[in-house]
């Protein structure tokens, strides 16, 4: 059992990623849906941010925009204080050197035709380690695997799908450990793994942040999980941030009606779960 983790305050540090009036609209005319509606945010370097929302709140769309996988309809995203320019393929690739992601479904996150060592080797090559000696590369891969409590020697010549879901997500973290991006976007990385593997993964993400100082943007629907892991919490409803702030403030002292409802709807263990707040006749 490790001792209590130290929590630093990042809110005055340098900005890493911020958004001004970021909007995403899908479709045209009558079929138009606004998935993300003029959101503003400031993520600082080294900060652990959670974006919490129910399904359909637009959190995944926002994450795709942050990653630069889809275009922003309106507004702008600033990367390290400067407007992010991903107009051309080259600039996009330049931006992608600083950002990485872990997705929800570990089974679709790996190319099933690549063995584990080639997945990790690829990360070293991307980081410009192509010229390193073979021993050095193996040493780096072993280090990355031991960081996530996996044994590299047992993984060579294996395919990712031979591992369990939790192990695959840990391998994903090992990838990030080798890639060392400025920002890691984790899109519900624990929603498909068991409760006990979940704890391991969350702790590894915190260790990763402490070790590398990267900004981690954690997207989740589980407000309890967000509370445990993050420094700052953004609550998202219908494409808008209804509340944001330090985790303790937002969760223990919610101001927005939506946050209050979200918290009251989650079953708890020290407080009574009040079932009377829902009316079966609604919907």
């Amino acid at each position: 059992m490790s001792e209590k983790r130290e929590r630093k305050d990042f809110s005055n540090g340098p900005l890493c990623l911020s958004g001004r009036g970021v909007t995403k609209v899908f479709g045209l005319g009558e079929k138009k849906t606004v998935a993300v509606d003029h959101v503003d945010f400031d993520f600082h370097e080294g900060e652990f941010v959670s974006i919490v929302g129910e399904s359909g709140s637009g959190k995944t769309t926002l994450s795709k925009m942050l990653l630069g996988l889809i275009n922003v309809s309106e507004g702008e995203i600033l990367f390290q204080g400067k407007p992010r320019d991903i107009g051309s393929g080259r600039k996009k690739r330049e931006y992608w050197k600083g950002i990485q992601a872990i997705f929800q479904d570990p089974f679709s996150s790996f190319n099933v035709f690549h063995k584990i060592d080639s997945v990790l080797l690829d990360c070293i090559n991307i980081r410009g380690g192509r010229g390193l000696s073979k021993e050095k590369k193996i040493e780096m891969m072993t280090e990355a695997c031991s960081f996530v409590n996996l044994k590299f020697a047992e993984l060579t010549n294996k395919y990712p799908f031979e591992l369990s879901g939790g192990q695959m997500q840990r391998l994903m973290i090992a990838r990030i450990f080798l890639l060392r991006p400025k920002i890691l976007l984790a899109d519900e990385p624990t929603s498909m793994v068991d409760a006990c593997s979940r704890a391991t993964i969350l702790d590894m993400l915190l260790d990763l942040r402490d070790e590398t100082g990267m900004t981690i943007i954690f997207i989740t629907h589980d407000i309890g999980l967000a509370y445990y892991i993050s420094d700052t919490v953004y609550i998202m409803e219908h494409g808008r941030f209804v509340e944001s702030g330090k985790a303790d403030e937002v969760i223990l002292n919610p101001k927005a009606a939506y946050t209050k409802r979200l918290i009251s709807d989650v079953p708890k263990i020290h407080e009574e779960w009040d079932l009377s707040t829902v009316d079966l006749k609604t919907e």
């Binding site: 990653l67 996988l69 393929g89 690739r93 992608w96 050197k97 950002i99 990485q100 992601a101 997705f103 929800q104 479904d105 679709s108 996150s109 790996f110 190319n111 099933v112 035709f113 690549h114 690829d122 990360c123 991307i126 890639l179």
Partner: protein, 414 residues
Amino acid sequence: MKNTIRQVFHSSKFLVGFIIFVAILLTVWIYPFFNPGNPLEMIGVGTFAKPGTYVSLYDALNTRTETLRLPDADHKRVSYLLSDADRVSMLEWFDIMDIDVSGLDATDTDALLDLWFKNYDPSVKPKGMTQAKRNFYKRLDKSVQQIRMADTLKVMHPEEGELVERSSVTKTDYVNVGDVANVKALPLGTDNFGRDVLKELVSATGTSIIIGLIAGIVATLIGLTLGLLAGYVGGLVDDIIMFITNIFTVIPSFVLLILISYSIGQEQRGATVVALVIGLTSWTWTTRSVRSQVISLRSRDHVNLSKLSGHSLVRIIVTDILPYIASYVVMAFILQVSSGILSEAQLSLLGLGPKTTVTPTLGLMMNWAMLYSAHTNGSWWAYFPVILTITLISFSLNLMNTGLDQVFNPTLRD
């Protein structure tokens, strides 16, 4: 990869299809070593010699003879020479003359002939029988007697072409087939031009498979490239490609095939050209299916991660998309080969296939058989083996395809 191949060969359907196809390929490759020469050489005069082993009569007569006394030789010869129609006529005569034939078997030639010689009298004038019919019976009687009697033939000496010695061939003279200088086995007879059908068929099968392969490769390459571009790049590129694909889809490809083949003209239509034309008109199906597969793959997380890792478009397509659709493309290719072979057969049957003088194809053989009405004069050997070969090729390819489908599509596994 190794595992996949092992799995593929565990599928009994694939294995059966594969064995049939490889057997056909091996035959096409090996047969010409045993029977070299131009498959379109006209070895016979006259149309549709029936299947069998042909012995040169001339050489047989000049081969050293042995005397064998085989007791049933006479009987065999006579029964072979006496036609069914003659037997029926004889029975009719017995009927008219009120002769009891109750114990007689019409196939028992000796008994039939004994009864005939015992009872036939040319001078009898049965009531109501025309003169012509009586003459017919007289001729029948004479020929039947000849069958029994004929035992000598007169032969000239071959070298000088003049009569040196008169040798007689008796019923007990035999030659060893192995000693005869010219024996030609024609297991499938000859076609309308007097060409060896088997040799032609083997060569035609080879050509047709090559046509199918070229057509399949062309169609798959075009379809794969366009499908990958449309599916992965999307947007305007997708719209343009799908517009062209839809145009090609709504025009019936066979009509297009006929029009193109016709406008190229008979002289320019070699086997390769026909194959290319077939390939150029049949890629739409592959494009559409590859596109839809790629679209569903494009949004998979491993592709997103590959993008984020800064890999280039080509690398993502080659390493993150292609391997996933490879099995699918292989299956599409097999079907394209099979349909290419069938398309060639259809085109050639209509007279729009490759030009007729250079190489035989399965379609051309069908075309010739049809033009010379092999199907009406009973020369089954000119078209039936061709149909069987086309069926076998298609069958084996489709069987391989189904087997692959079972391996790659988990919902179809038993």
